[in-house]
Amino acid sequence: MPATEQRPWNLRESYLFDRTVIAEIQRAAAEGIYDIRGFGAKRRLPHFDDLLFLGASISRYPLEGYREKCATDVVLGTRFAKKPLELKIPVTIAGMSFGALSAPAKEALGRGATEVGTSTTTGDGGMTSEEREHSKTLVYQLLPSRYGMNPDDLRRADAIEVVVGQGAKPGGGGMLLGHKISDRVAEMRSLPKGIDQRSASRHPDWTGPDDLEIKITELREITDWEKPIFVKVGATRTYYDVQLAVKAGADVIVVDGMQGGTAATQDVFIEHVGIPTLPATRIAADALQELGMHRQVQLIVSGGIRGGADVAKALALGADAVSIGTAALVAMGDNAPEHDEAYREIGSAAGFYDDYQAGLDPAGISTQDEQLAERFDPILGGRRVANYLRVLTLETQTLARACGKSHVHNLEPEDLVALTVEAAAMAKVPLAGTDWIPGR
C-alpha cells in the first residue's frame, strides 16, 4: 500500500527496489514460499486505454443517441451446435469457481447475468445448484481437474467450455488453499477437507490439437450435438491457439489476456506469463479472418475489461463478445470502501485487497466461511451486477452510435487510433494523427 505520509525531499525511493519490491524480498526471506494471491496483473500494461475512437464527422455520420437503434445482441455457437446461445448483450460473466467464490456470490452472478440476458460460467469445482437455478444461460467448464464433472451437469448446461488455460496463468493449474476447502467444496471435488488443492495444468485424457478434436467430438456425442463448445485459452501463442482451436472444431474461442483475474496464483505467474489482452484480441481476430471463420466461430476476449470503452474497443478489434470476472466481483462489493476497516484488520485496504486465496474476504465474496458469506446478499449483489452490465452496454452503444454503427458488431479497427507506438503495433491501428502502423 503506498504511504501517504510526508517525507523529507532529500529521500529518494529506488525505482528498481521500490517499497513493494523490498517488502516482497523481505516476505520471501521470512516465509520461504512464493507469494500466492488473487486479482490479476497489477503492473502497467498496454491496454485498451491506449486506443481512441474516431467519432463521426463530415465523412461519417453518427446515429442519434437514444433515438436510433444500436443493437447489442450476440449469438454464440452458430458453427455446429443445435442450440446456440442467444444473448442480449455482448458481455458475459467469466468462469469463477464455487470454492474460490461463496455460493451466494455465484448465485448473484447468475441473477445479474440473467436479468440482463447474458450468460454466466461455472469454474474449477463443478456446477452448484444455486448458480444453475439462478442462471438462465450457464456455461459449464471442462477443466483439467475435472472436479465435479459429470454427464448430468453437461446436459443441464447451455454450453460447454473446454478450458485449456486462463490469462492469469497460462500453462499453470488451479490452486485452492486448504482453508477454503469446506465440507461442501471437499465433497464436490472428491478431496479431503482442509488440504491445499492442486489442479492439474494439463487435461488428463488429451494432449495437443488432434486429441482436442476427438475430445470435442466426445462432448458433442454425449450431449447429442446440442451444446455450443467453447475453447478457452490464456493469451500466449494466440495466433496458433486460435487456428488450432478452429481446426479442433470449436464453436466459440475464448481468449483470456494476461490481465485476467484469478482466485489464487503465484504472483510471479500473474505478472510475467502471457501477453496483454490488447494484442491478443487483434491476433485472434486476424487468425479467424485468415481462415475465413471470423463471425462463424465467435470470439470472446477477457482480461481487464472494466467499462464500456474496453468493451467497444475489443469489439472493434474483432471480438464478438467480452467476458468480465474481476469487474463483476468489484460490482458486487469486492474492495468496497464500506469494508475498509475490515480489510485493514487483515493487512490490506479497500482498493488494494487481492488475497482471494485466504478466504477471509470481509465482503463475503471470495470465501467459504459461512459467517462471512452471510454478509453478502445475493439479491442485492445480483442487482448490482445487472446494473453494471447495463452501464457497460449503454457505454458501448454510446461509442458505437458516435461512430455511426447500428450494431455494436459493426465497430471495426478503422474506427480506432492508438495513443502509443506500442498500442499501434499491437492493435494494428494507426498512431493518432498519423497513418503509421508500426510493422506495416
Binding site: I33, R146, S190, P192, A200, W206, T217, E221, I222
Partner: protein, 237 residues
C-alpha cells in the same frame, strides 16, 4: 412372449460400417428415458472414437473389435464390453456401471472416473487411473508410467507390473500391485496390506473375473506429506 420380455431378450445389432456413430449413440441415449432393447452388439467399430459414450441406462453393449478414444466415456449404469483393444481414455469419467476390455488399452484409461468398475484384461499404457475420483480399476496385465497420477479416491489393482512414478501426487486412492513397481511418484509410499485390503482386492478380482491371490499384492498410497505446502518439501513439488 410379452413385448417387454422380447425387448429384454433381443439383441440389437448395429453395424458401424453402415450406421453412423451419431445414430448409434443417439439410439443408446434414448434408452435413458424410453424403453428399448437391453442388449446391443456393435460390429465393425474399426477404431471409431466415442463409441457408446454418455450412456445412462441399464443396458449391455458388446463391441466386436477395436475402438478409438473415449469408448464408454462418462458412462452411467450400462455395461460396455470391448472385445478388442481400446485407445486413449476408455471409460473416462466413468460414473457407474461396468466397462470391460478384453485386450490392451492406451493411455489415461479410466481417467477421472467417479464410480463403477473398469476391467482391462490386457495391459494399460501410461496414466492409467489418472486423477481417479472413486472408480475401481482392475488391470490383468501391467500399467505404464505415471499411473494413478493425482489419484483422489478409488482402487487401482494391477496384476502385472507398474511403470515409473506410480501414484505421483496421490491423494486418497488405494493402489495394489502384484508385480514390480519401477518407481513411486512424489508422496506415494508402500503401506501395510491388512485383511481389510486383501478383502477389497479379492472382491475386485472376483468382480473382474481374474484369478489371483490377493495376498500376493502390495499396497501403495499417499504419505500425505504434500497435502499442505511446506517449504521443507519444496524439492518434491
Amino acid at each position: 412372449m410379452a413385448v417387454a420380455e422380447r425387448e429384454h431378450a433381443a439383441v440389437e445389432v448395429v453395424d458401424l460400417a453402415t450406421t453412423s456413430l451419431r445414430e448409434l449413440n443417439r439410439r443408446l441415449h434414448e434408452l435413458a428415458e424410453a424403453p428399448g432393447p437391453r442388449h446391443w452388439r456393435v460390429v465393425n467399430p474399426s477404431g471409431a472414437h466415442a463409441v457408446a459414450c454418455g450412456l445412462d441406462a441399464d443396458v449391455e453393449v458388446e463391441i466386436d473389435g477395436h475402438v478409438g478414444y473415449y469408448c464408454a466415456g462418462m458412462n452411467k449404469r450400462a455395461t460396455v464390453r470391448v472385445h478388442g483393444n481400446a485407445s486413449t481414455g476408455v471409460a473416462e469419467n466413468l460414473m457407474s456401471g461396468r466397462v470391460e476390455v478384453d485386450g490392451n488399452v492406451s493411455q489415461s484409461a479410466g481417467a477421472t472416473g467417479r464410480g463403477g468398475l473398469l476391467v482391462v484384461r490386457g495391459n494399460a499404457s501410461s496414466r492409467c487411473g489418472i486423477s481417479m475420483k472413486g472408480i475401481d480399476i482392475v488391470v490383468g496385465g501391467s500399467v505404464g508410467h505415471m499411473s494413478a497420477f493425482m489419484a483422489q479416491t478409488g482402487c487401482l489393482v494391477v496384476c502385472g507390473d507398474a511403470g515409473e512414478a506410480l501414484g505421483d501426487s496421490i491423494y486418497e486412492a488405494r493402489l495394489y500391485v502384484r508385480g514390480s513397481v519401477a518407481s513411486l511418484g512424489a508422496d506415494c509410499v508402500e503401506k501395510e496390506l491388512t485383511d481389510e485390503h486383501t478383502a477389497k482386492v479379492r472382491g475386485l478380482l472376483d468382480a473382474a473375473g481374474i484369478d489371483a491371490d490377493p495376498a500376493d499384492f502390495r499396497r501403495y498410497g499417499s504419505a500425505r506429506r504434500l497435502y499442505n505446502f511446506h517449504i521443507d518439501n519444496a524439492g518434491a513439488y
